[in-house]
Symmetry: C2
Subunit: 471 residues, 2 copies
């Protein structure tokens, strides 16, 4: 065969312009990831309060082998012969995945949410779940996806890639307020567009950390029925609540089919598997009068994106589910305790560095979440990329600018801290470094500026809340 | 916590209408998969000449464990410590994947195509590669993706989900004809739209089986330069060519950056892994004047779809690459021989059942491909879903209607046979059953009808070819 041709001077290489590529690539939401990655790789020894990934300490490479074997034993127990086991592990396989029954059993045991396995689509991480659900539900150019403001970047990025219009609903301290959702949906409809779905993270939202109350959950479902909205419930962090504090998932309260539920094994098992699931038990009436499940339609969509979730990854997660007796909550007790202790520790350290009685000096405040991975800090100065670069270089501490989570601008004086990836002593040191940055920054600006900025910050936040549905 | 509410008569369940969901779900291209799956599952004992999947006999569940270990050894040899190995297997990891260097080495050894590992994006199967490449390149509503007619369903489905307009270029017996591509691109441009890219499978195309000649490859690259087209080269079957027959990949001939190359390990390793790759070494100039690689931009897009390729799946494929010394061609000798023998056998059996000297009796013809998985049969009667249902029920043999591969209509009197998933004796029996179906169908219609239909079929094919750029 012929080898590659050697380039000559006559060969002018094509140069693409970003402006000619899909517009989403110029979306600040998608570009923000690049900046954070660059900063992280330029400062590999900095303490990262930016990374919302799980703690490495729970992972053991020696595990993996045993897990595939465990899953294969399970398949044999279910009556599969050698040929069927081989097909399960190696072939294309069922579009909606082959661990859907184990997933349904685990969800039922851990959360009380009972679903038909036929309505479970196993996906390549919750991200693919968001992507295909948004694609299915937002059909035309006038369809709108409502999102909380601030919102998880993955949902904003997926919508951007799909050219789906998003309209923000500002979160209150208790997460999304049902009345605001209703008002925004009505405003969108009055403008001649169709609010099709609302993305919502009811437990320990990323980035805000907010959790919706039980009455708000019931009220949100009533709004969904009134406004003909599908609630796309994403629940990566609910398992972190103390058993006595757990609130039912929106999907568990849903008797009318208004909730699509997205789950992930990224935090309860591990992210590298890329295994999540969508529960979509809605009936879809086709043009020729047949009835199918929304899950089947989502399966069709994903068959044109990833075909299906890696069978090997499903086998490893399947093995973990089998080994846990389909009770991840039970096997994850240590893990849950670790994350809860870390959050408590982060909040304690913040209080120690920024005592409430010296609020006027430092101008820093936060709303303490009851759990989860994230805390948002309000600052008396902009928490922008310039400050982040300085924080990394001069203070060796990383965090995430909250502006990344606002599709339509906002969050300029806020940053997000994550407590999931670090051992407690590193959290202590990270917060100490952050506090030094804040003190130095305030010292440069002078005390009057701090008070004025803090006041302006409050006003801006109030104004943003008033803006309501503006994306 | 509260359990799920029990539904009452007052709760009226939502019913979605397919017409309200994304239009792609009503696209015949996407719906076709459902029909074929339903027929297959209703007739599980039928011989499937429809399935283009690899042969099960090459897969052994016992392998998997050893492969992960092999990959972990490789990581340690590369100098990674325990913590780094753990992160590689369990964490989110690099968006473009972590086996990119092994992939680049294997591609170089097996095909002579030398690429910078930084331009390799490891993806969740070639399907995700097509999806993200189409998304990146087709930016606006006037951008057009040119595709061969007939075309692989996965590419049509991805374009449909992304609302990308496709325009077909009819294939000749030697695959796509460069002059036709140029004419179609010019026609699209004259109509005020922008032909941005051409999807092309130069070796043993699915479904047609055609392979482009060396002069056509060079000419196609010249057309790409003239017409400012990116060639999206998809090459799942090239490894099946005899060493002396191998032609260089378009990417190997590309000195000007006009080719994005998509590869897969679905056939050389196994499909269940869902691991493929995109080679995208094009320079992209961003709005602020920086230069990046198209690979980096594809990485950003995929970070909003699947985040990245399952680390476990990458470890298994990585283990296979390491074990092969990054020479899959060498370890796959038996596999390649099996598929080549199967194709020869399928063609022999077709000739035996439909001898050329009795052409007028049966009205069946085909163009014999030099290799690959697929052969297309021209029939004197429609090969539609009704006939497929009858073929499955009464003759216990499955095949794929070629109409599935024509986005804009066509292929009504053609079917696709696949020879990859079956042992030779099943191919023999499958072709025998198919021949019986053809004879019975012809007997019902009468000999005059056969001759007339065959003639009409020829005319229709010629007309379709003349239609040129019509999608």
């Amino acid at each position: 065969m012929t080898g590659p041709r050697v380039a000559t001077a006559a060969d002018v290489r094509l140069e693409l312009r970003a402006a000619d590529l899909c517009a989403a690539l110029s979306d600040p939401v998608i570009e923000s990831a690049t900046f954070l990655n660059e900063i992280s790789s330029r400062h590999p020894t900095a303490i990262s309060l930016a990374a919302g990934r799980p703690y490495d300490g729970f992972f053991d490479p020696g595990q993996i082998t045993g897990l595939v074997d465990e899953y294969v034993r399970h398949l044999r127990d279910e009556g599969l012969d050698d040929a069927a086991v081989t097909r399960h592990l190696f072939q294309y396989g069922r579009t909606a995945g082959h661990i859907h029954e184990l997933v349904a059993r685990t969800v039922a045991n851990d959360t009380g949410l009972v679903v038909d396995p036929a309505s479970v689509v196993v996906v390549t991480g919750a991200q693919e779940g968001m992507f295909i659900t948004a694609r299915a539900l937002c059909a035309g150019p006038d369809d709108v996806l409502l999102v909380p403001t601030p919102c998880y970047i993955g949902m904003l990025g997926a919508a951007s890639l799909l050219d789906i219009t998003v309209v923000g609903v500002p979160e209150g301290p208790g997460g999304l307020r049902p009345a605001d959702v209703a008002a925004t949906a009505a405003r969108v409809r009055a403008a001649g567009r169709t609010p099709r779905a609302l993305y919502v993270v009811p437990n320990f939202a990323n980035p805000s950390g907010h959790t919706m109350s039980a009455p708000d959950r019931a009220a949100l479902l009533a709004v969904a029925r009134e406004q003909r909205l599908i609630l796309v419930e994403d629940d990566p962090y609910g398992f972190l609540a103390a058993p006595e504090d757990r609130l039912p998932a929106l999907k568990a309260l849903d008797t009318t089919g208004h909730v699509v539920h997205i789950g992930t094994f990224a935090k309860t098992c591990f992210p590298g598997a890329r295994v999540g699931y969508v529960i979509a038990d809605q009936t879809v009436r086709t043009g020729d009068g047949r009835r199918t499940l929304l899950a089947d339609q989502l399966g069709l969509i994903r068959s044109m994106i990833t075909v299906n979730t890696s069978a090997i990854a499903q086998a490893v997660i399947g093995g973990m589910l089998v080994r846990s007796g389909c009770r991840l909550d039970t096997v994850n007790r240590d893990r849950i305790r670790f994350y809860r202790d870390n959050m408590r520790h982060l909040l304690d350290r913040l209080t120690a560095e920024f005592p409430p009685d010296r609020r006027a000096d430092h101008g820093v405040s936060w709303h303490a979440p009851a759990g989860g991975f994230f805390v948002v800090l309000d600052l008396p100065f902009p928490a922008d990329e310039e400050l982040l670069a300085r924080s990394a270089a001069d203070y060796q501490v990383l965090w995430t600018p909250m502006s990344y989570f606002y599709a339509g601008g906002g969050g300029s004086h806020q940053l997000r801290l994550a407590c999931s990836a670090l051992p407690p002593e590193q959290i202590t040191e990270g917060v100490r470094r952050l506090a030094r940055l804040v003190r130095d920054r305030n010292a440069t600006a002078g005390p009057d500026h701090v008070a004025a900025s803090a006041a302006a910050n409050q006003t801006a936040a109030a104004a943003a809340a008033d803006r309501g549905g503006t994306p």
